[in-house]
């Protein structure tokens, strides 16, 4: 069901307590990391910064992040047992405190591993359960998770952007924002595309087959609506 903002944010979200920023927001940060990783990780190192490090345990921030990594929602009553469940499912989660400089007080850096696959993702819980992903691997980003989003890691080359926008246009999907970053000319690059509507899941496959990509992932919007 669609519907972000307005009265749904005033009465809501439905969530497991005790804190919208330290608990509900933390679940969403974990979910985003899991979704961008694209599969169940074997090992996750979680570095907590600022208030997340100092009052995180009392707010269940550790369990909330683990719940998100398992793909659970902020209102999932199993949240209190997420650390045990993660262990049972073979996801090894390690928590550490860190200092990420002048980052937002509620910030976390998640390092996800499975075999050779490795992902670093940094994000903040900015209030009321809202989040902002600020870094994916070496790329600085600004991702709220409120929109359907395509995350594409690819080789920088002329025409790459046009190829992707053409595929989306073909599905009648409107782009609301787009960000392209790269390490250097011709090197590794990343495209982040936020869209007004959720395209069919086949677009990720289409992009993979028509571009030299390391990966193309389609993320569903996080929403505060529904119980």
């Amino acid at each position: 069901m669609a519907g972000e903002g307005g009265i749904f944010d005033i009465i809501g979200p439905v969530m497991v307590g005790p804190s919208s920023s330290h608990t509900a927001g933390a679940v969403r940060l974990g979910s985003m990391a899991r979704n961008i990783f694209g599969m169940k990780p074997e090992k996750v190192e979680i570095l907590l910064h600022g208030s997340f490090a100092s009052t995180g345990v009392g707010h269940g921030t550790d369990r909330a992040l683990a719940a998100g990594l398992l793909g659970w929602r902020p209102d999932d009553a199993r949240l209190v047992r997420s650390l045990e469940t993660a262990r049972e499912m073979g996801v090894n989660i390690i928590f550490k405190s860190t200092d990420l400089g002048d980052a937002h007080p509620n910030t976390v850096l998640l390092c996800l591993k499975k075999g050779k696959r490795y992902l670093e993702i940094q994000g903040s819980s900015i209030g009321g359960g809202k989040i902002l992903i600020t870094r994916i691997n070496e790329f600085n980003v600004e991702l709220s998770g409120a929109h359907a989003t395509l995350v594409i890691s690819h080789q920088d080359r002329p025409g790459a952007v046009a190829t992707v926008t053409e595929i989306l246009g073909g599905h009648n999907v409107n782009i609301s924002s787009m960000r392209v970053s790269r390490e250097s000319r011709g090197a590794k690059a990343m495209m982040l595309i936020e869209m007004d509507e959720l395209p069919p899941y086949s677009v990720a496959e289409e992009i993979r087959s028509s571009l030299v990509v390391e990966d193309a992932l389609l993320l569903q919007p996080l929403t505060s609506m529904g119980v």
Partner: protein, 292 residues
């Protein structure tokens, strides 16, 4: 109507169409958010069910928060009042017990509805449930009341803030009490103008309330401030349905709350660096928790 930016705007629109504030809110939001009235109703009916579940869980259960600082007080109060130990009568005792019950469930990592925040989640369920029980009101009237509350909350979010980190506890428990007071008046069949007056009367009494959580946790004094918010809302409902008005109109009270929030030092806005959070007892609790 256009965007909801004032309670006065809601009242005028309701009076014009001979409607409840709840009806104006659901119609305007349906239009603004592009969601059907039925979808909004379903979402709110679902949230009301979660609110009732959390209320019941807190009243019967023996809850303890992770830190062990809060839990079990709602149950104790309800038991005691039901055995006749009450000065102001059972409904009042149950009102404040219910507010604490939901807040305790939140502190114990149970499932709640942030209304408007997790820290202030007990006020609205307790007031709507208790007014409904006293008047034997049908369930639909209580879901409607939740919409009335949401309308007041929208205005506060627009003109001020609902976040303790920005505006102190007045923005959380104060806003919840104002929302609950207006909701309660609409359950009684009071007029939109009386509902607006109730919101003003409640918020006025909680202006300046700071956010000073012990050890930075949503436990002390948050749980008992939910009881305070519910009792202030009850007071405002009684005044408003008697026809008593607020000299300062509700929108101006909300603006005053925003000014006060801006004037509050950072130490009194959810940082746990002032107020109750730095009392000797609180500091003692904090150092014990950090050791364990």
């Amino acid at each position: 109507m256009g965007k909801i930016t004032s309670v006065e705007g809601l009242v005028l629109e309701a009076e014009k169409g001979n409607k409840k504030i709840a009806q104006v809110v659901i119609e305007q939001q349906s239009h603004e958010l592009g969601v059907t009235v039925e979808d909004i109703w379903q979402d709110f009916a679902g949230k009301w069910q979660v609110m009732k579940d959390s209320l019941n869980e807190g009243m019967v259960g023996e809850i303890k928060s992770a830190s062990g600082l809060v839990g079990g007080d709602a149950h104790q109060l309800a038991q005691s009042a039901q055995q006749g130990k009450t000065v102001f009568g059972l409904p009042f005792s149950l009102l404040i017990a219910r507010a604490m019950a939901v807040a305790e469930v939140n502190a114990g990592m149970g499932r709640i509805v942030a209304a408007p925040t997790a820290g202030s989640c007990g006020v609205l369920p307790s007031v709507i449930f208790t007014v409904g029980e006293q008047l034997n009101a049908p369930e639909e009237t209580l879901v409607e009341a939740l919409l009335t509350a949401a309308g007041i909350g929208l205005v506060i979010a627009h003109r001020a803030t609902l976040s303790g980190a920005e505006g102190g506890c007045q923005a959380e428990v104060g806003s919840a009490a104002a929302m609950a007071a207006a909701a309660g008046v609409e359950i009684t069949g009071g007029s939109p103008r009386q509902a607006a007056a109730a919101a003003a009367l409640a918020l006025k009494n909680l202006l300046g309330l700071v956010c000073d959580p012990v050890a930075g946790l949503v436990e002390v004094p948050c749980v008992k401030r939910n009881a305070g918010g519910a009792s202030v809302a009850a007071m405002a409902i009684e005044l408003a349905i008697a026809g008593v008005t607020s000299t300062i109109p509700v929108d101006e009270v909300i603006d005053a709350m925003q000014d006060i929030g801006r004037a509050l030092p950072c130490s009194l806005r959810e940082t746990a660096e002032g107020g109750l959070a730095v009392t000797p007892t609180a500091l003692n609790i904090q150092s014990k928790l950090h050791k364990s």
